[in-house]
Symmetry: C2
Subunit: 433 residues, 2 copies
């Protein structure tokens, strides 16, 4: 007899797990209306059955034994919401091998082991979906897989980490220093006690790795992604950025140029009128440029119990529709190529430079001479009045290879008149306007 | 023997048709990589086989005989890009009855006859997809159908007409008058010689009808959508909006409140920091609020050969994946309810009012007395200095029923001190911040 319901098991009843359970339990009528079979939340695994929770879950579906989900013949779809690599990855492998479909919100596992897990899913004839691993509630992964299929994706630029966007927004709008903005983010629960994963860009790099694999059809080792966090972004640079009509955002940038891939995460200046410039606080957004669709942007909540739950449950419904139509593996494809990854020195970008120089005739000639000799031409310049530590010199350079800029900076650093190379920030996003 | 290719027929080789053909012909390698069967553009119908075209199409696939597409047993998917109701609708019906899947970019047909056509597709076991009918390249329809399925959609606000957005942007950024901005839009080809469909909001209403049906699961007759175009928006209102930190956009608004639907298209003031406020020129955007996902926005090119082509070809690929997996009808559902549509008088909104009054003591007391008696409370007020035609009085009223505002305005209009009720503009979007 054909089963009349599709049974679900959740692994991990933390923040996201609670959101997913809440959606499934409280809006089941709304969801089941859209389906030819009912979804039923059959089991929830959590290591601690006694802790207080925000939602009420029927006691009989709770368990602390993984096998009651992973080896439960009734369960069709396993929803992994434990986070981190262990034991999440092993649980996912066990579920896939038991021919259960898997939905996950786990960016770290998907960035590090997604390729193998997707192969394992294909071997077992089941689906592995991971919309919630990037951008919380923003449906960027499904869009890349299903809505932008006609496009050669040329560029992805994402604000994919809410913590750093919150910090940079505070620094920009309220003049806060990095340390104070970080402390505020920690107070509000946006940043962890150890903020390294967010602040140093690792979280964004995981997400960029996942997005790039789909957008460019080429897998990127997360260790090959160029990474710079936001801890060196100063109030001075934010102020000069304003003068130049830019804002500073931590962007995860992926591009395909002439068959080669760029993948980098770093503080970036973008023009005030770029759609990403208006993405503030803990919001996320992903900007995509496709050869046919042109510029496209998705904006929304990149984290949180219910937004992330929204993405997880959408994946569950999508898989359920596949189950109902016996169409699992419908959009899987072995369409990956090996595309070469550029080193950071090969990247072409515009650059913002801030130098501290000695107030002496000829210093500007010396600096601009070195830049010119290295093929770097200057788009705009601000020279500020003297401070006790010399004169700040702010330059924006036209598009050029990073290698040229770095060579020039080495030479500039050797000039006696230059006290300090204070900042180098890449500038993106103008070609759209 | 199983067919090794999926064959496509295009109806209409105009702007969008050329974009679709270009994508299919020039990037077929890229597309076919993602598919287990090849797509083949087999026939293109156009009534004029001799006109000059932007793209080169093999002569042998061109035809001026509809039956060579509609009755061609080889063709699996018919792509309708003729536009307008006739003969597009009849061609779609013939294709569906011949059990061909249909992709269309036709907002007018989908808004007026979509319900019947979707039923006809379901009866014949074929898919009818229409992503390109709203928002050009922006994948809003697939998102509502597949990515926001866990949500009760509470609100949709769209900038879905590029022409009016271009005009309002010019009026806002350059101080242009409506007539001049319209003339410029016509020069640039953004506006038709007869701009009624855009300027008076009909185009936006078609799109709102399509979006609302999916978002709220309830069909809305386009004649029941409250409609106000932009031709009465003045430079004065735009200037006062700036003073109040608002911008004016033509929004297509759909809401579900307590099981009742609102559907209206009108010039709307939104706060400067609302994500829709930064959507300028001919760009489109759709802002969605779901009970789980929270605020979400999609931004991109709402028209044009290649962006619209991107959406059309994505639909073709989606249907092809269904064909390959024998899963057509995968997301179709008969999940429509009959939800009551509110009249405009039942709508709750904030309001911007501009009155021209005589400079006489007591006039403000009289106006605010009438507002207060009708339950309208004032959030902010600007009184300007005297002009030759009296004194402009600008008020923003807190959220209240439109009925109350209209009753109050009738009474205010009867005051001897009030020379003119110059503008009433609804204000939306603050509840998000």
């Amino acid at each position: 007899m054909e089963k009349r319901t599709i049974k679900l098991g959740i692994l991990g009843l933390g923040t996201v797990g609670s959101g997913v359970a809440k959606i499934l339990l409280e809006t089941s009528k709304n969801i089941n209306q859209k389906m030819k079979k009912k979804l039923e939340l059959a089991k929830i695994l959590d290591k601690d059955l006694t802790r207080e929770r925000e939602i009420e879950v029927p006691a009989e579906i709770m368990t602390d034994k993984p096998e009651e989900v992973l080896e439960n013949p009734e369960i069709d779809i396993v929803i992994e919401l434990i986070g981190g690599v262990n034991p999440a990855k092993d649980f996912m492998i066990r579920a896939l091998k038991a021919k259960k479909h898997v939905v996950t919100a786990n960016k770290e596992v998907m960035a590090k082991y997604g390729s193998d897990l997707l192969d394992l899913a294909e071997e077992n004839g089941v689906d592995l979906y991971f919309e919630a691993s990037v951008g919380g509630g923003i449906p960027i992964i499904r869009s890349l897989k299903e809505s932008l299929t006609a496009n050669k994706v040329e560029e992805i630029m994402g604000i994919v980490n809410g913590t750093t966007n919150y910090i940079l927004t505070k620094m920009t709008q309220e003049g806060a220093d990095f340390a104070d903005a970080l402390a505020e983010a920690q107070d509000l629960g946006y940043a962890e006690a150890d903020p390294t994963a967010d602040v140093d860009g690792y979280d964004a790099a995981y997400k960029l790795s996942i997005l790039s694999a789909i957008a460019f059809g080429s897998r990127i080792d997360i260790n090959d992604i160029y990474l710079e966090g936001i801890s060196k972004v100063t109030q001075k640079d934010i102020t000069y950025a304003k003068e130049l009509n830019y804002v500073i955002k931590l962007l995860a940038i992926g591009k395909e140029v002439d068959g080669k891939i760029e993948a980098r995460v770093h503080p970036t200046m973008i023009p005030n009128n770029h759609p990403l410039a208006a993405v503030n606080d803990s919001f996320n957004a992903v900007f995509v440029k496709g050869h046919a669709v042109g510029e496209l942007m998705y904006y929304g909540r990149g984290a949180g119990s219910m937004p992330t739950g929204s993405a997880v449950v959408a994946d569950v419904i999508d898989i359920a529709r596949n189950i109902i139509n016996d169409a699992n593996g419908r959009i899987a494809c072995s369409c990956y190529e090996e595309k070469e990854l550029k080193s950071i020195n090969e990247v072409v970008s515009k650059y913002y430079l801030r130098l501290q120089v000695i107030d002496r005739p000829g210093v500007l000639a010396a600096v601009s001479g070195i830049l010119g000799n290295n093929g770097v031409s200057i788009e705009s310049m601000i020279q500020k009045s003297k401070t006790e530590n010399g004169v700040p010199l702010i330059l924006v350079a036209h598009q050029v290879n990073e290698g040229n800029i770095q060579t020039a900076l080495n030479e500039i650093d050797n000039l006696a008149e230059v006290k300090e190379i204070s900042s180098l920030i890449r500038v993106e996003g103008e070609e759209c306007y």
